[in-house]
Symmetry: C2
Subunit: 444 residues, 2 copies
């Protein structure tokens, strides 16, 4: 196929029938550009015809020869094609199932009903289950899953081997799974959650939605009022600069909860009967520099990009086995958001939902929870003030920088912060060791 | 009633039955605190019993004497009550109908069907209609509304009287209505929009939702993953500092659109058949420092707080009578957001939706629209870089500061920006004159 024919056919394929105008026209049918490989090839060839390319706005202008003849429609004497960003931002990549680990922290020994509920969704992925070392009974895990289980003996061996000064108990045990994973992506859901149903009463595939969130770009530099512009049926609204429509890699996907919301103990105590029933059908990028309380209940992330920034560092004195008795995920979520902002990655919040089952007695937790609630008054202003140096170019670098700032600015406020700073440093030591070891042999 | 009885009764009233714990307990039933006046009284008396009040976190700790006896439940030896922020943030104020102006820019002369569709929603408010001065035919407005109409002769008289160098034609004519309004709040909807229906097929009262958005606080300093925490059925999620739960005044409410979305001409041309059909049941505060493309199609704002920051300053050479041929609202929306961030007000986006009817031929608009699309590449980075001095304490101050920066930094980039800067200064001159005049006599 010669170049002219190729362009002709490509235009035919791209255009669909959107072209108009006698002399110049705007062409392109964005949804059809998603076909991927062929599109990239088409662009490469079309690039040879480019009349201008603005590296700032990344808008590509292409002028191609007039077409006419047997075809029913004729293009004018020339055609101006603006598809740089349109093309680019639609070219989201595909995540393969074997690039994903599902990581489950087992705080309950009988995972039978949990695993059965998730079977249609999780069974196509490799699963890592980390048993809370404080849990006495043996785990019950139904068959038919591709699963690695880590228990107290693995944790003890690891701690003995590495001299790790980290506690992997309670909700923190999941982080051991993050450390052991060899996959690019992690999806993690609490073991008191089951698949939710959407507003059409269809079961939500939370894994598929997290993968969509991570495989399409995030847009942290300008808010799109119609939410996720990469979702079919929507787009960037008027006024959204084309130069920003490529977006950036999404490194963290924060899902939500139906039924029992993830409130703190005071709120849960105030509203014991409150249930979250509103299904908000949206995903959005949390803007750069804006922080959010990342819940560990239902998340997914790109382990290669920001894995080191999710760790078990902040441990409350009265930490228990209920979500509202912890803020370890809030703490490392702040850290992850600051790291994403610094490295230019995106964080999304919204879909997918999971269904959180009933928890314990929130009023009983209040005495413990006050510690976490009070600490947040220090934690947020601190993270809002963090500015990382340009020399920090990896998530590991960033976490070490933040640990130093925690020690310096928060260490004297409360000993819990000094401990957190130490464990952040410790975590990075382990992460580097495990990741480097994993390149030569199997860790642990 | 003595104090003890009052507290007893208050606790009875507040508690509902949530209290527990032998020694200390957390009490309060937030939804019941909404009763308002009585609650404030209760708090005043309870304040006398406060053991600590943190003015930074605004958390109130109250210790009250042990209760026991005839009641079935007993409070322990003391009770710790944390209801400062809970109380405060539920005490949103009420907006009365006579504090609101509906402002309509009439770009079509026959408003009959438009007004009839909106009658159930708009008829309880005072309405200002500004007729596009380029429109030749007389306006048709059905009876039964409390309406003030401004036409070309009013605009000419005003321009002659004040020497105004502003153009109030096309979509910009609505700003004349903003200037003439004497109300605290403005709601403005394009005349090609009709009431939309929600996901339960109920007609959406866009005015009521805008009023809800403006009368409940915004939370720009930390993102709440469950969206608007003031909406019944939701709240602040775990990790949200109590000190930020009061929120700040919401000054701008940006609604959305079903059917025809507010895309730019290129996007609309690319997707001529695309219709926005997804009803996202959420309102959120756009975080501080994050900018958004504010559409003028469906907005409401607190005129006293930020009225001067919404103006007809940026006028494209090829500006026409279709939304996608303008960016005047995007420009002043950036300005308004920067002003809100500086003055500590909030901006919300999301509900309510309106139904946008079919527009014109987007492909025909492309030649004009490129100007706006290209300008946005300069506009966004500029507004992202704006930092206002502390001396700017009103919206007027802020706009004048921004106008100076526009002149200095963008004036040489494109003459359109120099013109915009001049018109911003001119607008503030008029705003001050009209507002000061309105205190002594009726303007115009």
């Amino acid at each position: 196929m010669d170049d002219d024919n190729f362009i002709d056919d490509t235009l035919e394929w791209i255009l669909g029938g959107q072209c108009s105008g006698d002399n110049e026209g705007f062409i392109g049918d964005a949804p059809r550009l998603e076909k991927g490989h062929e599109t990239r090839e088409s662009l490469d060839i079309l690039l040879g015809k480019a009349i201008s390319y603005n590296p700032c706005s990344e808008v590509l202008w292409v002028r191609v020869p007039k077409r006419s003849g047997s075809r029913e429609r004729s293009f004018g004497s020339s055609l101006i094609l603006v598809l740089g960003p349109e093309l680019e931002y639609k070219m989201s990549y595909t995540i393969k199932d074997d690039e994903v680990d599902i990581v489950i922290a087992a705080l309950h020994s009988d995972l039978t009903s949990f695993m059965e509920e998730w079977r249609p969704i999780f069974s196509r992925f490799h699963i890592i289950i980390v048993k809370d070392p404080d849990l006495a009974d043996d785990l019950k895990i139904p068959g038919g899953f591709n699963v690695n289980v880590y228990t107290k003996s693995d944790l003890d061996r690891f701690v003995g081997f590495t001299g790790a000064k980290l506690h992997f108990s309670g909700y923190s045990c999941r982080y051991f799974g993050y450390l052991m994973s060899r996959k690019k992506y992690i999806i993690s859901v609490d073991d008191d959650c089951v698949p939710a149903r959407d507003d059409k009463d269809l079961v939500i595939d939370a894994a598929a939605q997290h993968i969509t969130n991570l495989s399409t770009p995030a847009t942290p530099f300008f808010f799109n009022t119609l939410y996720d512009p990469f979702r079919p049926g929507t787009d960037f609204v008027r006024g959204y600069p084309f130069s920003l429509r490529n977006g950036v890699a999404c490194a963290l996907s924060c899902g939500l909860w139906l039924n029992l919301a993830d409130f703190d103990a005071p709120t849960q105590s105030l509203k014991p009967k409150a249930r979250s029933s509103r299904y908000v059908d949206a995903v959005l990028t949390v803007p750069t520099q804006a922080l959010l309380p990342v819940s560990g209940v239902n998340i997914a992330f790109d382990r290669e990009l920001i894995g080191p920034s999710l760790f078990p560092a902040l441990r409350l004195a009265g930490e228990g086995k209920l979500r509202w008795e912890t803020i370890e995920d809030i703490w490392c979520g702040m850290c992850a958001k600051v790291v994403c902002d610094h490295l230019g990655h995106g964080v999304k919040s919204g879909l997918p939902y999971v269904w959180r089952k009933e928890g314990g007695d929130a009023v009983e937790s209040l005495r413990k929870e006050w510690e976490g609630v009070k600490l947040m008054e220090e934690v947020l202003p601190f993270f809002q003030s963090v500015r990382l140096p340009r020399s920090a170019v990896t998530a590991e670098d960033c976490v070490l920088e933040i640990a130093g700032m925690v020690k310096e600015r928060l260490g004297s406020v409360n000993p819990v912060f000094g401990g957190a700073a130490d464990r952040m440093v410790e975590w990075i030591r382990l992460w580097k060791a495990v990741v480097s070891e994993s390149t030569t042999s199997k860790a642990v």
